[in-house]
Symmetry: C2
Subunit: 361 residues, 2 copies
Amino acid sequence: MSNLMQKQSTINDVARIAGVSKRTVSRVINGSLSVGESTRLKVEKVINELKYAPNAQARGLASSRSYLLGLIYDNPDALYLDDVQRGVLEVCSTLGYELVVHPCRYQSETLVNDCLRFMRRSKLDGVIVLPPVSESETLASALKESGSPYVRLSSVALDSQEHIVVSDDRAAAAEMARYFAQLGHEKIAFISGPQRYKSSTERMEGFQLGLSAYGVKIPPQMILEGNNSFETGIECARQLLQRDERPTAIFANNDQMAAGVLKVAYSLGIKVPDELSVAGFDDNMLASRVTPALTTIRRPVRQMALLATTKMIMSIEQNHKAALNVAAKVAPTLVVRESTGPCKTAVVANNAAALVAGRRS
Amino acid sequence: MSNLMQKQSTINDVARIAGVSKRTVSRVINGSLSVGESTRLKVEKVINELKYAPNAQARGLASSRSYLLGLIYDNPDALYLDDVQRGVLEVCSTLGYELVVHPCRYQSETLVNDCLRFMRRSKLDGVIVLPPVSESETLASALKESGSPYVRLSSVALDSQEHIVVSDDRAAAAEMARYFAQLGHEKIAFISGPQRYKSSTERMEGFQLGLSAYGVKIPPQMILEGNNSFETGIECARQLLQRDERPTAIFANNDQMAAGVLKVAYSLGIKVPDELSVAGFDDNMLASRVTPALTTIRRPVRQMALLATTKMIMSIEQNHKAALNVAAKVAPTLVVRESTGPCKTAVVANNAAALVAGRRS
DNA sequence: AAAAAAATTGCCACCGTTGGCAACTTTTTT
DNA sequence: AAAAAAGTTGCCAACGGTGGCAATTTTTTT
C-alpha cells in the first residue's frame, strides 16, 4: 500500500520556481495592484503548473480572515433551507468562500453563547442568520458588539440596511386577500403559523388588512394556529371543514399546511377548487406536486440568499458603500395554480345542482 | 458607536497567569497524559477565568487538523440532502466538529481537482461523499491517494468497509416486486433513473429479478428512463398511460417521479389505486403529502449519514478498529400506503362494469 | 541629465498553536 | 545511597501565509 501522497506545494515552492519572493506570490494571489504584468503572468503560470492552492488556515492566521461563512438556523423546512443554501453557495463559490452550516435551538438559553463560540472556533468571517433565529435581538446585538459581519433574513425590517434582507410578507398576504375577495369569497379562514414568529403575524395581519379593504372580516373562530407542519395543517383543516358552516376559502401560512388542507378536503369529499379554495405561502417544490397544484405566494428565497451573501461579503471586504447598494427588500408574488377558484355561492345550492344532474341521467 | 470588542486571550496569557510554559497549557488543552494533577487544575482554572478558547486556525496550522468535515454532493434532491445533512450534523455537534458543505458537478472534468482543492483549502479532516459523486472511482482513488479520510454513501459496496456505507437498494426493489406480484399485477411498468447512476441500475435489476421469481417479465416498452425529476416522471407517465394497453402498476425510481405519475393519472381520470398502482422510492416528505399517499421504499438516509460520520470521525481519530465495527450496510424497507392495491384484472372489464353501473342509475 | 515621484519587489517579523528534544524532578530499582 | 527509570516541564523551531517597510527599478518632472 504505497502512500505516495505528493506533498502539498507551498508558497515557497511557487516563489522559488518562479524566481520571485514569496511576498510577491502572495500579492499575485490576493490580486494586489502593484505587481508587474510580466511578473504576474510568470507567477500565475507556476501556480497553475503546481496546482498550488493557498492554505486557508495559514492565511487566516496571518490575516485574521478565514474565507469561511456561517449559516445559522433552527430546524427550518427542508425545502426552505435547501433554497437558501443553494443561493448562498452560489455566491460563495464565485467569490472564493466556503460555507459552514450550523443548526441551533432558537429557544435555548445558550443560543447566544453557542453562536459566538461557533464563530470564534471556526474564525468565521461572517454569518447569515435565518428566521426564526434572525428574530432574536439578543443574538443580533451580541453579534454587533462582537464586531463580526452578519446579515439577517426576515419578514420585518428589524435591523439596519446593512444587516438585513427582508421579504415583504405582509404585502404579499394582502395581495392574496385581494385575490380571494375578487373571486367572491366571503367566508374565509386562515391557518396561521406560531404567533411568536414575526413571519406569522406579518402574514396574518397583511391578509386581514387586505381583506378589510373589501369589507371582509375573518371571525375569530375562522383563525386557527398551526406550527407550519403538514400535520397541524391537517388538524386545523379538520376543525374548519367539519363545521356546519364551513369556509369557502382557506389561506394557510405555508405550503406544508396548505397541503394538509388539501388532504383533508379530499378525504371529506370536498372538491377543490369547486367547493373550496386553498392557498399556501412559499411556493416550494411541494406546491406544484400536490393535486390540485397549490395557488401560493412565491417567496424569492434564493434571491434573498444571494442578496444577503453579497451584502455580507462586501462588508467583510470593507466595501461598505457597495454593501449598502445591495437591495435589502424583496417582494413575494402571487402564483395562481389550480387550488383556487371563484366562490360558487352556497355549498348547499351546489349539492342540489349535483342531485338534479344525477337524476337527469 | 463604541467598538469595545475585548480582544481574544491567547495561550500566552494563560501560560503567564498560570505561571507555566505555553507548552504545558497546550498539553492541558489537548488532554495530554503527562501533566501533573496540580498543574492541570491550576491551568484549567485560568482557562475558565479567561474564557480562553484556542484559535482553530493556529491549531490547524500547527497540527494539521481542523475539526472541519466536508460534505460533497452534486445537486441532490433537496429532501435527501436535508436528511443527510441533519444526520451528519447530529454527530458533528456531539463530537465537536463543524460541517462545510460543498456542491460540485459530477460530470465536470475538473471534479477531482475541485474536490482536492476544496479539501486542501479548508484543510478538512475528512469528507463525506454523496451519490452520484460517490460513484466516481477517480475521485475515490484520488482521495485515497491523498491520504485524507473519506466515506462514500452508495447503493453498491464499491469500496472497503472503512470507506463506505451502502443501502441495499437492489433487495428493496426486489421486495417491491414481490409486493406487486402478490397483488396480482402482471402488466407492470418501470420508470428508471439515469442509467449512468448505480442506484438506478441496482433498483431496476432488483425489481426485474424480484418479478422474475413470480414469472413476471417487464417488456422493454414498459421501461422508460427519467432523470429522477417530477417533470420527467410526468413525461414518462404520459407515454405509459396513453397507450392502448397500459400497465396496471408503475414503479418509479424515486418519489418525485412517482408523484409525477400520480399527477398524470389524475388528469387522465385514472383512479389510483383502483385502476393503477403507483409506487416510489425514498420515502421522503413528499410521499406522505401527495394524494393518494405513496407506497414507497423507505431509505434510512439519516441513519446512513449517522453511520458514515461516526465511521469517519473514528478513522480521523485513529480509532481504526472501532471504525470497522460501525455497520456499513443498511436495509431500506417497504412502506405501504394508499397508492397501491390489488390488480382488478383487466382495465377494459373495469370500464365495462362502470358502463353498466352508469346505465343502471 | 539629474532629481523627484511612482511603481515594483524583497526582507523579516509575526499570527497562535503544536511537536521534538532536552532538562529537570521525582520515584523506583539495585 | 547511587543509578536507572519514569514522570513533568520548558525552550525553540516549525506550520504557511500576510503586513510593514526598505530597497530597487522604472517613469515622470524640472
